[in-house]
Amino acid sequence: MSAAAVIDAEVKEDEVKIVKDATCTFCGCVCDDMELTVVANKITKAKNACVLGKAWFLNHHIEDHPVATIDGQPATLEEGVERAAQILANARYPIVYGLSDTTCEAQRVAVSIADRIGGCVDTTTSVCHGPSGMAFQGVGEVTCTLGEVKNRADLVIFWGGNPAESHPRHWTRYSLMPKGLFVPNGRKGRTAVLVDVRKSKSAAAADIFWQIKPRKDFEVLWALRALVKGVEIDPEIEQETGISLAQMQDLVQRMKSCKFGIIFFGMGLSMTRGKHMNVEAALSLARDLNDYTRFYAKPVRGHGNVTGADNVVAWQTGYPFGVSLGRGYPRFNPGEFTTSDTLARGEADAGLIIASDPAGNFSQPARDHLKKIPYIALDPHESETTRGAAVHFCTATYGINTPGTVYRMDDVPIPLRPAFDSPFPSDETVLRAIEKRVREILRERLTN
């Protein structure tokens, strides 16, 4: 009997439960004002959720799947843990990857496993805002919370993103629409600017839209820095970037004269050629503007707890992603220890992949190598990655089935209030079992 069949038998069909202040973990906004209606282990309503949040909650279902599979064949949890621990304990260059869609409690156990097996620990940050993490180290980050933005921001700039479709409640809950303590008129009290290469659906909601030429973000940001500092700029910059000098001068004036300004930057900066240099330009611009007013810059984060992954890996190793523990102490080197690279170069010989899908998202060389090595995948749903896993654990969905802590994109920790139990174990439970067994194997090896 599958795990799903077991729980179905225990739930009355007409049982209705209301879960207040539940947290949506689909995106980095981590909205914690959901009101969920649960009928017989099915979420039927998700009040306050955006279109993405509704899809997250209403499509959630308990998979009809064994708790574990080994080489695609059903197995018990214990058998899966044994095989997983043997793979990891016997690897010479193991990788621990993913982590952005699970709780902080599970993330810390994953880092502990990486430490014990001398592996590289890396998160999906490295293929999202990893370059932003490098830029923070390079030039620093003038930071604030979304609460401060809500209550104070009168100039809000979105650069290289499409929040209307990727983070629909960012505007309505945090950055544009809400009335704040010092922005009593809400949207009317704020100027919204969007900078992007594409006139996306977000453009209609902005007061000012700049459609810049592709791969010219750095040039525009650097020109703005120059104008802020009073340096003359050649008007021919318009031919290079698509933005006129007059437009830039106008924005600089707005930035200098606002009371509280912020640049929310998306992956249009971090994923485009230049990457961390693009982000450094945005961070430097925000820093420079603090000579005149209060100005901040924050990345708009994607996955529900990708910010938690940065925090957990940083507080445990000192670095946010791309960390090797192979020498018994942490070393940070993006490009060397990041998973995209260790796979594409054919270096990793085993993997522990938690809540992510590198077999569906990575470059072809990285995917090709992943197919050649044994790896363990923890995921509530089937994916290309789980299909190729030596061991797949079907786990409970964080936030919907398991409690714990996640970090909102502004580094604010938020508690989870699950809607109902799952027949599947949490990521944390499985990882703790693997860690315990790995420890035993390594201890036996030392004593023999």
Binding site: L52, V127, G130, S200, P214, G268, T338, S340, R345, D357
Partner: protein, 114 residues
């Protein structure tokens, strides 16, 4: 023709909602295999709405359904593809010491499928 387009993969509402239905389900696959193109470019290249095209990068190629972008959304020379398996197959393994392959702003070529 061998002209170079710049491809921008990104998120859409439908990519996000169908992701929650399942990455292996038909709607997500359809959304992530739909290429959006400037109508002027489509006319110039003789591509009609709904036609299948092949996109080639230095590192891979995928076959997609081409649709016209809304007027003004994409300038000539720029293509948009919702994030997913096909967009990732066009990436190379080189990350320039960042951990991040060039995932946006990729140079690609487009062929009509006969």
């Amino acid at each position: 023709m061998d002209d170079i387009f710049i491809l921008i993969p990104g998120r859409t509402s439908r990519q996000g909602t169908t992701l929650n239905e399942g990455k292996l389900k038909a709607d997500f696959i359809e959304e992530t295999q739909t290429l959006f193109m400037c109508p002027d470019d489509m006319t110039r290249r003789g591509v009609v709405d709904g036609e299948r095209v092949r996109i080639r990068s230095e590192f891979g190629q995928v076959e997609l359904t081409c649709k016209a972008a809304k007027t003004g959304e994409l300038p000539p020379g720029l293509l948009f593809l919702p994030y997913g398996d096909p967009s990732s197959r066009l990436m190379g393994g080189e990350t320039h010491c960042t951990g991040m392959p060039d995932s946006k702003g990729m140079d690609v070529q487009l062929d009509k499928l006969l």
